[in-house]
Amino acid sequence: MNDSKIDLLVIGAGPAGLGAAIEAAKRGVKVLVVDENAKPGGQLFKQIHKFFGSKEHMAGTRGFTIGEMLLEQAREYGVMVMLNTLAWGFFANNVVVVKQHDQSYSIQAKKVVLATGATENTLSFKGCTKPGVMTAGAAQTLINLSRVTPGEKILMVGTGNVGLIVSYQLMQAGAQVVGILDAAPVVGGYDVHANKIRKAHVPFYLGHTVVEALGKEEVIGASIAPVDCNFKPLEKEGFFVECDTICLAVGLSPRLDLALNAGCPSTYEPLLGGSMPWHDQRMRSMEDVYVAGDVAGIEEASTALEEGKLAGVAVADELGLLAKEEQGVIYEEIQSRLDKLRSGLYGDKRRQAKLDLIERGCTR
């Protein structure tokens, strides 16, 4: 290992990763950020809608603009950002191996922040491997980054915020959303997001699920059916919906592969996406390794950013770069912004889940 050691390596250039990089670099930490994508910003660069929150959370600003602002700030503070760079391994002594094209490099860092985000959940039903069945995030990448619509008639599965937002954006991109369904009897996401597509007369099939993707070689329709109290479809009451694309927006799971390889303890929290690396109040998962954002529990871009900042400050603190007057205060500041984000009908539960998790200590 003849590579020089850097202070902080951040894996993932989404809001969490950039937040950590900025806060650490601001205080004099030498930071390198790697991300596998050609563009930094993580999920933000696909998000053309305006965000919720308050002014301090950049509410009312569109996701991709927030991404650009973060990137600008990161550059200002001298953060180095390597794109098209995949971190493929995490070995002893904080050695992370990354690759660019077909060249692989090892990097040793004093501290590492894992901000690797999440992966989308899928469903398995008859015909689900046909072309035309995809996750909502994939559809969002197609319309907002590649600028092509995946199809003309879309059936959306899942009424969480992702399902609602992506439905709306698919319509903005010119497609028709022939329906949105959810096994639950109520809409999962924010009402205001739901109303955006209600106003466009998109039918909601609540208490329904998709039974089969129909079509010989590609999707030409879906058979959907109401579910019983055990969420099993009542197939006899099923009916046909014509569509050429079925989008699955059925939740996200923390992308914990690198964290597990690093040796982070894992824990389980259904409200935050299932299995995830455990972390303490300052986002530390184990010695020298921090987690932040969706990988530390599925939430939102705004919370990811704040968690990233928390991790960045904690790294600066451990490296002895936190100014005296900031000690203690800065954590409280960030925590109070986080608490504000984790309030209300949905947020309260997540706040409690985070508290429980931290209190529980690492269980596995």
């Binding site: 003849n2 020089s4 899928t122 469903l123 389980y268 596995r364």
Partner: protein, 252 residues
């Protein structure tokens, strides 16, 4: 009608040109006569309930009926030409002429009355109050089709294979992975691991919080061996300033 023995009961209501029921009955219990469009008549005293006419009738218009089997239960038999077949002892939903459910019945017997002919008769014990109306049963769901569903796309592992593994005692993500390769493919379990955990929990009394995530191996994403081998003696940067300059150039 004779209540305590199985007798053919024909629901043939149109004068169509057809008479195999008459010619097939080994006991001469059905009469149509010289005009082939006559409606069939069953001679209850001659009928022995052998079921041959049920399997022969191209219209599936004949059933066997016994209103009282001695235990205050009725027996109905009807031809059934779908897959999968019910098994003896199964509870099935019996239906009327419109296919509407009448209630439940227990399958007491399966029979193929004609050699080399696949038509099966299903004998169902039902409550006498509904027996007169029973014409068939609700089609059974094809579990095979369901079990052919692919759960792990990368390694094309089906629901059936995973169910088998769980039945054999693989009660963790790693155990299922070792036996079936589910989760070993290109995406390294990113799309299937939640589906597999759900199946393990459904089939056992394990709860999701008790299931550890599958162990993750490096490289966490697929890379070529050549790339991996290129790692050791290639320093990424001599010093940070050089790297910063390089990245700066890239941006410009």
């Amino acid at each position: 009608m004779i209540a305590n023995k199985l007798i053919a009961d024909i629901h043939c209501i149109e004068p169509i040109p057809c008479n195999p029921c008459e010619t097939s009955c080994p006991f001469g219990a059905i009469t149509i006569g010289s005009d082939i469009t006559n409606l069939p008549v069953v001679h209850e005293d001659l009928c022995r309930g052998c079921g041959i006419c049920l399997a022969v009738c191209p219209g599936l218009a004949i059933r066997l009926l016994q209103m009282d089997n001695g235990n205050n239960r009725a027996i109905v038999a009807f031809p059934y030409e779908y897959h999968p077949l019910p098994q003896k002892g199964d509870l099935v939903t019996v239906v009327n002429m419109e296919g509407l459910p009448l209630g439940q019945g227990t399958v007491t017997r399966l029979q193929k009355p004609i050699k080399n002919d696949p038509t099966q008769l299903v004998f169902v014990e039902v409550d006498p109050s509904i027996a007169q109306e029973v014409r068939s049963m609700e089609r059974l769901k094809d579990n095979d089709l369901e079990e052919e569903l692919i759960i792990c796309r990368c390694e094309e592992v089906t629901r059936k294979e995973i169910l088998n593994a769980i039945q054999k005692g693989d009660h963790s993500l790693d155990a299922v992975k070792r036996r079936t390769r589910a989760g070993m493919g290109l995406c390294q379990g990113k799309s299937c691991s939640k589906l597999v955990s759900r199946m393990i929990c459904e089939q056992t009394n394990i709860t999701p919080d008790q299931l550890a995530p599958a162990s993750k191996r490096q490289p966490v994403n697929p890379i070529s061996l050549k790339t991996m081998a290129s790692t050791s003696d290639k320093p990424l940067f001599r010093d940070l300033d050089a790297l910063a300059r390089e990245l700066d150039n890239e941006v410009k």
